[in-house]
């Protein structure tokens, strides 16, 4: 079943086409990688889907309903959550309260503040932040702040999760842990679109990869085919020497 369908999506910033007529769809339960050179429009695409910015034209259908141009809070409540490339945390707020906010905000039933704290601890445990509930978000390392963003997003109980470079700044061993987390998220029945430059992760856990370049879709396919695609190598991967398989 198609969970997300994007057709003819366009967004200009000044004279620059950040998103130029992008079409793709996502099946329920997939993990889809979104890659492309810096400045290709990957985060803009997330901003359009999550309602942070409004498209100039195009249709974004989530579970059969057009959500293009809806406000971010409404998009969150229909079941799409996201994380941010440059983390957007509440610096002085506790880790625990971040998750509570996500939990009480997302639109799902039977929520009371009584069950919420139990739920919040479960989510923190799930992302690997157990024992850190009382810390101020600002005191976490960047990697843990990214985990916190994942926790906050999961707390809204999304059906589609948009992950924006959650593996940046992780060493290869930490990347493996993060890959395991994404797999576990999918096992919960959540569909995932992830922007990532860590090719090891893209190759290993994505069912499908979409490549953006200059705001347009350059290629789409299975990870193995994408890494052999000449134009993708030319604009994004560079020489194969840089692929992590070498290390």
């Amino acid at each position: 079943m198609k969970i997300l369908d994007v057709q003819g999506l366009k967004k200009n910033f000044g004279g620059l086409a950040a998103t130029a007529n992008v079409n793709f769809n996502i099946e329920q339960g997939e993990i889809v990688g979104l890659i492309g050179p810096n400045g290709a429009g990957k985060t803009t695409l997330f901003n359009l889907i999550s309602g942070a910015i409004t498209p100039d034209s195009g249709v974004i259908t989530f579970k059969g309903k057009d959500i293009a141009g809806l406000k971010p809070y409404r998009i969150c409540r229909v079941g799409i959550a996201r994380t941010f490339q440059s983390v957007k945390i509440f610096a002085k707020m506790s880790v625990f309260n971040h998750v509570i906010i996500g939990y009480l905000f997302g639109d799902h039933k039977h929520k009371t503040s009584g069950t919420s704290s139990e739920e919040a601890e479960k989510i923190l445990d799930f992302v690997g932040l157990s024992g850190m509930s009382d810390r101020r978000a600002a005191d976490l390392t960047l990697v843990n702040q990214k985990r916190l963003e994942v926790a906050r997003a999961l707390a809204t109980q999304p059906e589609l999760l948009l992950l924006d470079e959650v593996m940046a700044g992780l060493n290869p061993t930490e990347v493996s842990e993060a890959m395991e987390l994404v797999r576990k998220i999918r096992e919960k029945g959540i569909t995932v679109i992830m922007i990532e430059h860590v090719m090891k992760a893209i190759m290993t856990i994505c069912d499908r990869v979409i490549v953006l370049h200059h705001g347009e879709k350059l290629a789409e396919g299975k990870p193995g085919d994408i890494t052999r695609n000449k134009s993708v190598i030319e604009v994004y991967l560079g020489d194969f020497a840089c692929l992590p398989s070498k290390t």
Binding site: I35, G36, P37, N38, G39, Q85, S86, T141, L142, V143, N144, E165, A168, G169, L170, N171, P172, T173, E174, V175, S176, H197, M199, K200, V235, Y236, L237, G238, D239, A241, C242, L243, P244, K246, T247
Partner: protein, 234 residues
Amino acid sequence: MLTVKNISTVHGKIQALWDVSIEAEEGEIVALVGANGAGKTTLLDTISGTYTPVAGSVEFQGQRIDGKSAAYIVEQGISHVPQGGRLFSDMTVRENLEMGAYSRHAWKQRTETIEHVCQIFPRLKERETQITSTLSGGEKQMVAIGRGLMSRPKLCIFDEPSYGLSPKAVMEIFQVIKSLPKQGITVLLVEQNVGQALEMANRAYVLENGRITLQGIACDLLVNDYVRKAYLGL
């Protein structure tokens, strides 16, 4: 050239570095490897003067620099390209570069140094008058590195220069870093692409929970079983 001797650094009540000693010889690339939260950034920040160690000393070219201001340390010839670039986002590319030449001797040479930086990164010449918040991630990192070179450093500290960059942009940035020793610039590098960092470094240190736990020739560490398991995910 750089001798960090037995330093300890604290953040409030938490001790981040314990008795850490590292060295860099002139012309070397020295890599610092460690998990997130191990204290790598704190160590770099202690060298460049953001933090003052509570114990130990930092010597640069035979002179104590611990406890000195960051501005003074830049004047002595150390520049620091921080994690995430930390550009002045509302300024143009050129203005950001000029900010890197703020120290007195560098200011006089800023026009030539900008020329030099634009030779290394021709893209910055094209983008000279553009506001940096409108640049792509790779371009921002080029500005950050360029700004680091503007003070005409003898030692350049890089904190995760590949952060958030495409594989191709990472390769380009690494080529530039690799070429710095030939231009008389010693490099101290923190990098999560552990494999690539060890391949281009001469020597490396492993930092764990605020302590140096392993050190040696970089290519030896690359085949070290522990490093492979803990940091290379093999």
